[in-house]
Point group: C2
Chain length 314, copies 2
């Protein structure tokens, strides 16, 4: 699998939502959309980075924060009508990759007035789901549900959260390493990283962890398969955001299947410094290029892991 350059996804420096561009050329020059004509800008095997909604697809729906976007292909070059079924290949498959990997998509709208037209950047969306459906023509099209990422919420939280050191509960007898946690050495997590439950945000770090483990769960080894390739989730050991303020760094992330991600977050299991699993049997599968900082493992054990969870259940 080719390596993704982190810079192709996400916001473009200096371009805020509502930024306007006079032309496709200007849009291209800004780096927002790296195609001068095509509506989707995607890289094979990496995902889609940007789309332009120009009103050209009869099956698109635009409700503002929610967009139903039609895939590419099957249209006549002469009439622009849908004349054949679309396939889940090429740029369409890359949009599925965005869904599976949590990659953000830049969205720009073409705005047409009586006298002219221009382009307005709308912001970052996530690909929530995809499905096949009959277009107005009767031919099959692939459709994608896009939802605006709640950036403002994340920004508000970072602004209002205390800037001091995150709390750490260190009962007597706990290794000193946990108390001496060098959280500041990693710097704060990027502002855009929010903590919405089970919405897996993409970062260069989470992508790298999943690739290193070939999308296999570090607990059970399972590799789930979707249309755009294997699926796994990146779990932050010490959570991002207030009040935990864990870093978005390789040393603070595990590659897990959704089942073990849920159980880890619920505190049903923990991981000892040597990788032994606690609460369930087995050993964490490790990769030599993916060192895990035991300080973060200790944080999860102390704050989240409940050794007797089974006994406390119903």
């Amino acid at each position: 699998m080719p390596k993704a350059s982190p810079s192709i996804f996400g916001p473009i420096a200096g371009i805020a939502p509502s930024h306007e561009f006079a032309s496709r050329l200007e849009l291209w020059g800004s780096g927002v959309h790296r195609q001068t004509q095509a509506g989707i800008s995607a890289r094979q095997g990496l995902g889609a980075e940007s789309i332009v909604l120009s009103g050209g697809y009869e099956d698109d729906k635009d409700w503002g924060a929610v967009i139903i976007y039609t895939g590419r292909g099957g249209r006549s070059a002469e009439t622009n009508q849908q004349v054949a079924d679309q396939t889940l290949t090429g740029a369409n498959l890359e949009l599925v990759r965005n869904e599976q990997e949590g990659l953000p998509l830049r969205v720009t709208r073409k705005v047409t007035t009586n006298h002219s037209s221009f382009y307005r950047y709308a912001g970052l969306y996530r690909v929530v789901s995809h499905w096949a459906a009959p277009g107005k023509s009767g031919h099959r099209v692939w459709r994608f549900r896009l939802e605006l990422l709640p950036e403002t919420v994340a920004l508000d939280e970072e602004t209002e959260a205390p800037s001091g050191q995150a709390e750490l509960f260190a009962p007597p007898g706990l290794a000193d390493s946990a108390a001496a946690e060098p959280a500041s050495a990693y710097g704060p997590a990027p502002r855009r990283v929010s903590t919405t439950l089970r919405i897996v945000r993409d970062t260069a770090v989470t992508r790298r962890v999943k690739v290193l483990h070939e999308h296999c769960c570090q607990v059970c080894g399972i590799q789930l398969r979707g249309a755009a390739g294997p699926y796994a989730e990146a779990a932050h050991i010490r959570p991002l955001g207030a009040p935990h303020h864990g870093p978005d760094s390789l040393e603070n992330v595990l590659c897990l299947c959704p089942n073990h991600h849920v159980l880890f977050d619920l505190g049903s299991f923990g991981v000892a410094d040597d990788g032994q699993l606690l609460g369930i049997s087995g050993q964490l599968r490790q990769h030599k290029k993916h060192p895990i900082n035991p300080v973060f493992l200790a944080y999860q054990r102390v704050h989240f892991y409940k050794p007797n969870a089974e006994a406390r259940g119903e």
Copy 2:
């Protein structure tokens, strides 16, 4: 497990966010908070329905849409100070149940002015996570991250979405049952049910399906365990919301583990009308009190299931 009355969770008819109450007695009379003194109103084995933030806990943090809430217990009746560790039992354990089951929590704030105080209903929150931490006293407290549910987004979408029949792709050869789908017979899904990815919303229907299957996955039979009991997810076969407009009814829901929920939504497997699994081996585990409408299974097969997903992967 006792059965939950659906009415104890969620909104109270006639009470919108920002509604004000002169006293705890008035708040109690409205049905918002069924305790006259306690800050948490919970039912053993069912979950917590409501909390009142009165500023009494030194470790609470209130950032508006995000609240870090401190659990109950360990305080001196005389001094109101934290004098002992809190345990994950009683009302604290019920808050964990809200997290595991996706149960909404009503939140009301005490507002104190120079001359008086009153109570203002804030709306519905979800319990995102819980962890142990040292309080300001040094004793362990259990903390809960609460996030305001994005009701306005769901309402906007329902308002703007087309009200007509959802689309259905019926290629030649597909059983007629799919085309004759009686979606309207189930009525529209409740307005509050949104479609945010992997945020599992609670409804009476989803609770019932999980209880019938004892939280075991209908595909693989696994039962995950959290501190507040078993964990499973309710997957709508035909999705809720625009443009699919599937109903929130027992016949349209499966009880799945997170792994099979992800794979089902990605279209990596489908279910034949007779319960045979497609794309993976095996048979859907069924319960006689949980009939599944084959029309919805057909909808998922046609729109989401990709028989050759494996071959299309990387």
